[in-house]
Symmetry: C2
Subunit: 317 residues, 2 copies
């Protein structure tokens, strides 16, 4: 297995940069060796661990030049950065970290929901005593869009607080722990009966802008929106407008569109919007989980077994 | 049963004032009637629902003047405001709302822990993208001081995240769900092995200042402190000093000493301290739970059964 692109050096500021730091390369290299694989130059490789942040064109060029590479492990759960380049059309198996990062992302969704219901941004910004009336998650009607690892873990974390959970998903198989599982096409029917809307789905052409002005207006005025998926799931201008018109009560966003959110963006002005800067999962956790998945997949690859976290080119995740 | 003092009118700002609003009086009055009790003037009463915020001297004077009152229901879970007046020394049964408010207070403790580990104050205050490395509650070592309703509910809420929980309490009976239950005198032994310290105990002469400079220095530097009990459990100056010296990583405080915390207090300056203004439980919830407890206790009182939430004058809660 080859590793590319090379590790970053210097002043690593963003999470994407820090994932590419030398120590994480060493961890991934170690996981390949532990699983009985070899770390080789890409010219001699039949598999590739791509640790770059996006850079789909570089990856495509590398694969064009090295047709012997039949499997590529990508570092994140979401692969939307790679879709538009047509990367997934070639006869190569792509695997992502999907599912592996769910624990921390779901924990972050719980935080964003609680913080939104308990006025944390106002409390943090106003440096004086400010008695507020909290909302409680106990018994609340939660709608989770997305039936993957994050959604399932959110259900588990919410279970002591509420079991009144609807999951909306593309597939029809019921999700354990959810009160009901419905097709994603039922979104408009479910929104008026939703207290907390949690976005935990993959970004594809079909789910881009899934929450716009219409959807926000269908939510009750006391509803809160939590997004731990991708910023582009939400029409940002529509969200700003809905918050101004008090069509929803609050939002907790780990992701935004655009991202990074510019300092002068109106979303920063709301005392009922908590923005965390796409940092639901820690660099240490991502690096650890990636090494674990690579270890597992090397073993499977060697034995010709199905790999974990295979990207479905048609579904786009 | 009599109700005193009378409902507050006018501009009700604080939670204590809003609990005394006319609508809550009506709810309590309704709960007395529903349980088959009568609402009478205190001259004709054998029981009293005291809905005032503290005002121990007024209550003591009322009881002195009406020795036929043999039971007093207090509105909050904590009764520390009443202890110093010697109120509990008289031959009257006092009941509080202890246990009844645990659901929302424990939920708030979970929020404070998550927010402290995920840098929420810094994210809320700095209105620009600020990538941060979160800590996760998964598998963390949590020490809960206090084995009452709040502590037990915190264990339940944490159970999907960690079961590595030590409860410290006065009594020796083990708490369900805790990995271990130890006497409160083991505090110093447990602190160095604590990632998250949650205070959920009653304020008494024995627990006043239970967390001071010594205790904070015994915690690991990555530890966080959560206080949903009473501000006076913590030596505030020692906490400020420990935060300055980075002896602990963060704090989430729903209660402070003094309270309200003055606007110029140094605790407001820390970007790793979330202060919520003693609003873990909502006015609506407190009022609802109080009506429920009064309904239950009227039934028990009429049948000569033991009341719920009886204050132990020796323990002080």
């Amino acid at each position: 297995m080859a590793l590319a692109p090379g590790p970053r050096a210097g002043n690593l500021v963003t999470r994407a940069e820090r994932i590419q730091a030398a120590e994480n390369y060493e961890r991934v290299r170690g996981s390949i060796l532990e699983a009985g694989g070899e770390v080789v130059d890409v010219d001699a490789a039949n598999a590739l661990a791509w640790l770059g942040s996006g850079e789909a064109e570089s990856l495509a060029a590398l694969l064009d030049a090295h047709p012997a590479v039949s499997w590529v492990q990508l570092p994140w759960a979401g692969v939307d950065e790679f879709i538009s380049s047509g990367l997934f059309q070639r006869p190569v198996t792509f695997t992502s970290a999907k599912g592996a990062l769910a624990d921390q992302v779901a924990e972050h969704a719980l935080l964003l929901a609680l913080a939104s219901m308990r006025h944390v941004v106002a409390q943090a910004r106003h440096r004086h005593w400010l008695e507020a009336e909290p909302e409680s998650l106990h018994g609340k009607r939660v709608t989770i869009v997305g039936g993957g690892g994050i959604g399932r873990t959110v259900i588990r974390l919410l279970s002591p607080l509420t079991r009144n959970i609807v999951v909306l998903r593309r597939q029809t198989e019921a999700i354990p722990g959810a009160a009901t599982t419905r097709p994603i096409t039922d979104l408009h029917a479910v929104l008026p009966e939703t207290d907390v809307l949690i976005l935990a789905l993959a970004l594809t052409a079909q789910t881009h802008g899934i929450v716009g002005g219409r959807e926000l207006s269908l939510l009750p005025a006391h509803a809160i929106l939590v997004n731990v998926a991708r910023g582009a799931h939400v029409d940002t201008d529509a969200l700003v407008s809905a918050l101004r018109e008090r069509e929803i009560a609050a939002a907790g966003l780990d992701v935004t569109d655009p991202e990074p959110l510019p300092p002068n963006h109106p979303l920063w002005d709301f005392d009922n919007v908590l923005i965390t800067s796409h940092c639901a999962d820690s660099v240490a956790f991502v690096s650890e989980q990636l090494a674990k998945r690579i270890r597992e997949n090397i073993g499977r690859f060697k034995q010709g077994q199905p790999l974990a976290g295979v990207v479905d080119p048609l579904a786009g995740y």
